[in-house]
Amino acid sequence: MSTTDRTSTEASNPSEDSAEAAAGAQLSTAPAEDSGGPVGIGVIGWVRWFWRQLTSMRVALILLFLLSLGSIPGSLVPQNQVDAMKVAQWKKDHSFWVPAAEKLQLFDVYSSVWFSAIYLLLFISLIGCIVPRTWQFVGQLTGRPPGAPRRLDRLPAYATWRTQTAPEEVLAQAKTILGGRRFRTEAGTSAVAAEKGYLREAGNLLFHVALIVMLIAFAWGQLFKSEGGKLVLRGKGFANTLTQYDDFKYGSWFDPDDLSPFSFTLDKFDATYEESGPQKGTARDFKAYVTFSDGAHGAPQKREIQVNKPMEVDGSKVYLLGHGYAPVISVTDPTGKVIYKDAVPMLPFDANLSSSGAVKVPDGYHDKDGKKEQLGFNAMFVPTFAGAGKGTMLSQFPDLKFPVLALSAYHGSLGVDSGLPQNVYQLNTSKMQEFKDPDGQLFKKRLLPGETMELPNGAGTVKFEGIERWATFSITRQPGSGLALGGAIAAIGGLAASLFIQRRRVWVRAVAGEDGVTVVEMAGLGRSESAKLPEELGQLAAALHQQAPTAPDQPVKATVEGERG
């Protein structure tokens, strides 16, 4: 039968259709589609109309689609929140687009006005959807399944037979069988109505509520979170107070008192690397061994921190992020007095840990004439040197196989007294003079561990004493993670219930025919897409059939069997 035919039949039979509609009514709590314009008067009419639109399935669908489209740009254009350096680079490379991109907040998509608008609308829509659906569902839980429609044979699954069992007996049996399969049943005069699968709706509501819980948890976490980084040299320590951090980010409602009081020292750092093969030099394992004490009175404990295994302390987590080398350097003044000795962390810039940095000697130096001065050195460090004459100062391997330090020397003012914060890895040479070699060039030298270089004209010596390691840690605190996880688990559970459980109704009708034989009719109606429905109806029918077997000698075939195909 084609669609057009069906429409014409249906049009001619309005009462039957409304009976069918009633049978399927409230099989789900989905809001009804509504495409009418605003009704009622003035502002209130409009507000109502707007609300109805916002909480309709169609608008929810559009908002969902917009949300998925809206998250795309943030993956194509670098984000401030993820990597501010990349944003700067992007701006340099695409200067033409920068004004437009800034206007559209493309560097902060996930906190932009338009993205927030989409998800806020979606979540208002969600709440506006959940509340009435919950009431409706509660109503359904206390209600009874609707009575049988007049023509059961028009339902998606249908079975019928004739039996000599009396109608009342058949209906009583049907009620027992259905009840035994945990259907909720309701007996009418000539028919039993039954329904099952309420958990589907419960699961669906749970899922949507869980989405809200997750959003709240995420927002909570953003508001209260704190995240700081710290570089720790081997043998040195860290205490969890604001002043100790190298950098620190926090949410708007963060309170420094929330930082849990703990400290640790880095005892040892291990790294292993692939020694051969195509992925030579790729890191295999990083491990930091620390001595940890909790609070002011905690006894020190030995702990290990690995890349995937943060150390958890009272709501905070300590992650191992990176590592590198810190050449130990000592400097003597022209009189031979050691005025500086320290391990100076170098910042790696490639996978083989070629690193650069700066050695700054702010105090204690007097030149040959006794004049107070500051010293500065630009430094390059490679853990595995390619060899002299190889024309490169890039490392060949991340481990310490042939460590070499290259220094170039300056004197004058480091500019550290101006009070402005300075990058510890860079030398500001604007107020410094170069030490010159005999050719009048910048004085520089490559050193092996233990080697010493003499500054020109007896200005002092610099010794490469040895090599220390350092590791960077990130200490984060994000409350609400537990809530988010709980929400996520509830969402998955609710989703599974909502997608795998079918809500369905079954009706059994038994009436005495004119010849005194009982005609049994059974029909099932599912919410949608149900493959199991005919199967289940078949099992129910078979069970009932055992109690009310087919009457022998069926004179006329009573049922319609438009079997085709």
């Binding site: 993956s75 249908y158 079975a159 996520a488 069997e561 085709r564």
Partner: protein, 370 residues
Amino acid sequence: MTPLAAEVNENLAQISNYLIYSSMAVYMLAFFAHIAEWTFGSRSKVGRTAAALTGAKAATAAAAPAVQVRQKGALGSGETGGTAVLDKPKVVTRSAAGTRDVPDGPGAAGGTENGDLYGRIAVSLTTLAFVIEAGGVVTRAMSVQRAPWGNMYEFSVTFSTVAVGAYLALLALKKNVRWLGLILVTTVLLDLGIATTWLYTASDQLVPALHSYWLWIHVSTAIFCGAVFYIGAAGAVLYLFRDSYESHLEQGRTPGRFRSSVLERLPSAASLDKFSYRINAAVFPLWTFTIVAGAIWAGDAWGRYWGWDPKEVWSFVTWVAYACYLHARATAGWKGRKAAYLALFAFACWIWNYYGVNILLSGKHSYAGV
């Protein structure tokens, strides 16, 4: 320095490569067998679809309520006479209002014996190839003593293994999915071709960030979801073709011979649509779980469970797109073609997340050793 965690066993890695190449050869044979199946099947006279949509129209218009084909595997003995005593009542089903009453096509073999023979050969060869390919995945895993999902090559190989496995499982469950065979084998060959020529990475260990049992959980479910979503998407594409073919017929037009011959043998548009929906709906909770597992792992590895890294963004986009599709199915007026386009959009997002994001966008996930 501790010694290397595990020594790469070159031998096993080599065996794995041989197995993958062998499976490609067998898939190739399966491909030809499927082609033969379709070719022989075209000699049959099917015409059921056209009859249902055109010829029978006038005849059934005034008839009693349409009752459709009996459910396969449901009750009912195969009685033919109307007056026989039933030992069990028979269930008749009727398609939902607004859908066409069209029987499923007979499948690629078109009911011809020769076609069916080739079809069976194709399925057997596919099974063989699957076993060989699975062996390739396992030896690869043994050669590196870790989960075999450390780079895109390994990911691709596992992906096609799982897709074929899912297809064979559906066949074993007696689902009507043989029509999927040719498309599936073709894509598997493509996928393996790309994997072995462009994505090949010698067997090796993982960077520290991947050392975690979450690798087993998160990546295995991600691959599984992708492979099964792929089957759902294939269903959606065929649905679109078949649906336009049916509406063509319905409007009284005659589609081309080739088009008729191929599409007529597929299941009806309604069945394909349902198939695609069921597959997608069944995997969606698992995909949700995959993302949650990824977030937990990210929380352990990087100190934040969600940071809008490109991979995370696209997982989210894929997830929302599938949610959109499921909503579309529940919303009147969006069922059918529109919903199918959404399903395809969602799957396109998944594929992009896999190939595009790994290769073109850099983020924390890009150590996947392309």
